[in-house]
């Protein structure tokens, strides 16, 4: 159990997080909210990377700033500088705390195991600077999974991946979360992706938590209007999951609507179909 108590953080004079309280169980929690509401800062505070006020408690023990026990794994949005380092070595870096100069067979097995799970084993001997942006993101994900953390914090982990990879990665994150009983928090912009995969959603707005709960209870037209300032319809798809379709009133959007009408395409079906892996 991860408990956040009275967490506040400011960059100089500017308050970013205001007295946040949150409990997280081992499940996949999506953190949503507009830009600059403090989602990334919140994850960094939990990871112990930013000096904050308040407490972050994992299984009754407080996590301190700069915690390096490896219990908490944080995947930043930035994949890092692509350098002349093989993918396998980059993945090994994820568990540098426990590595010695000579890498044991057990650690190699662990690293190769994660690469196999992610389906990128064939990249193991390629250099990071020879990979595409999406492949680099996969390596970053491998780096955070190889630590076998109790808490997995991911900031937009699929932002540069194609749709197929996005679904594949979220299926894997969900599988790992359940199998290893991990408390997973993912900051996401894509509300439909969040709705499909998250067990729970936390909405952040202006440095505070606006609401938290199961996706169907959270994703309402009112919430989207209040938090994002956008008018949207929320439908239930065939799987009973909420699907958000923003209402568009400007002229380019009308053209799209017209085309949809011609093609007899129903918005909820279209999105539901796309999201099926």
């Amino acid at each position: 159990m991860l408990a956040v108590r009275n967490l506040s953080f400011s960059y100089g004079q500017k308050s970013v997080l205001l007295d946040i309280n949150l409990d997280c169980k081992p499940m996949l929690t999506a953190i949503i909210g507009p830009n600059a509401t403090g989602k990334s800062t919140f994850l960094k505070c939990i990871a112990g990377l930013l000096k904050h006020r308040g407490k972050v408690i994992l299984n009754g023990k407080r996590i301190y700033d700069g915690d390096s026990t490896g219990q908490v794994s944080y995947l930043p949005q930035d994949n890092g500088t692509p350098i002349a380092l093989t993918v396998l070595e980059a993945v090994l870096l994820g568990m540098h705390q426990s590595l010695s100069w000579r890498v044991s067979q057990k650690d190699l097995d662990l690293a190769f195991g994660v690469l196999e799970d992610l389906g990128i084993e064939e990249l193991s001997t390629r250099l990071l600077n020879q990979l595409s942006g999406g492949q680099q993101q996969m390596v970053s994900i491998a780096q955070s999974l190889v630590r076998e953390p109790q808490v997995l914090l991911m900031d937009e982990p699929t932002s540069s991946l194609d749709l197929y990879r996005q679904l594949e990665i979220f299926n894997l994150i969900k599988k790992v979360t359940y199998e290893k009983n991990i408390i997973t928090l993912v900051a996401l912009h894509d509300l439909n992706l969040a709705a499909r995969y998250a067990d729970r959603m936390v909405v952040m707005s202006k440095g505070t938590i606006y609401d938290a709960g199961e996706p169907y209870a959270i994703l309402t037209e009112d919430m989207i209007k209040t938090v994002y300032g956008v008018h949207a319809d929320v439908y239930m798809d065939r799987d009973g999951l909420p699907v958000v379709v923003p209402k568009v009133s400007s002229s380019p959007a009308k053209r799209i609507q017209h085309r949809d009408t011609l093609g007899q395409r129903q918005p909820e079906k279209a999105l539901g179909g796309v999201l099926t892996p």
């Binding site: 390096s68 930043p76 930035d78 002349a84 093989t86 590595l99 690469l115 193991s124 001997t125």
Partner: protein
Amino acid sequence: MSRDAYDRITRRKIVYLIVVIGAMILTFFIDIMTGPAWLSMKEVIQAIFWPGQSDPMVEGIVWIIRLPVAFMAISVGAALGVAGAEMQTILGNPLASPYTLGISGAAGFGAALAMVLGVGAVPYAQEFLVPLNAFIFSLITCMTIYMLARGRKKNQTETIILVGIALLFLFNAFLALLQYMASENELQAVVFWLFGSLMKATWPKLAIVTVVLILLIPLFARDAWKLTALRLGDSKAQSLGIDVRKLRLRVFVGISLITATAVCFVGTIGFVGLVAPHISRMLVGEDQRFFLPLSALSGALLLSAASVGSKMIIPGSIFPIGIITSFIGVPFFLALILTRKEGHW
């Protein structure tokens, strides 16, 4: 399948290390053979391994004159290679070398102060007046950079670079002032010192450089994985649980000590500290478990080869090695850069 490929890559890196060690040993012996009086490999080996059985004249040349110089080339080359590798790592900059941050400027000023004004930072040390001055002024520069960078929470790298460059200009100006004031003989001594030379190598000086190197390399080696992660960028390294500020400052202190020790005895020998890390990166990549030792070895090889070159250009005379390192290093380096397809920085 991938595992086999990975093992193959690791073996190849080990082979590179072994090849460079072999080449370094070879140049070391050639370095002892060459000079105003040419010696054969047999004479050299006999004088080194079976002293007392060979010509006393040859033994004198080998043990008193050439061995300290040849070893000094290896030690100083390794020191500059390691210092350059870690300077590029902590600053995340391909242009960084041990001399980027005013260390050479300060050392030059310290040495010139001793030569021109006879002013020593430590009294009663006439024999070591010049190196001690160079060493102390290098360390003053490093400590100034360290103190200013330590308090910075953000932009630590930029602070280190900009303060270092500012100090470089300051000491160069002081040095120019001293040169302006110096007599002809003093000026000659200063200029010659600035060229860099191994010729003043003695066994005690060699011992100091080597001991500092042997003490500090394990400290870098202990942080090998962290330093590799640092090359991915600060935010990535932090996310992996590394305290990048402390790591950077700790390594900076190590680099300062190694560079100050090397430069104070031999003057400013350029290029080795810049090029050796690049050569190593091209051969074995950024994994510091291979990159660090190979940078040391290729630095040693480069300076040893330059030492041979400095004696061969005009037979009978010895060129300042600081000039030769660039003559040998630049074409080799350009060839490596232009023949590589992948970017390594």
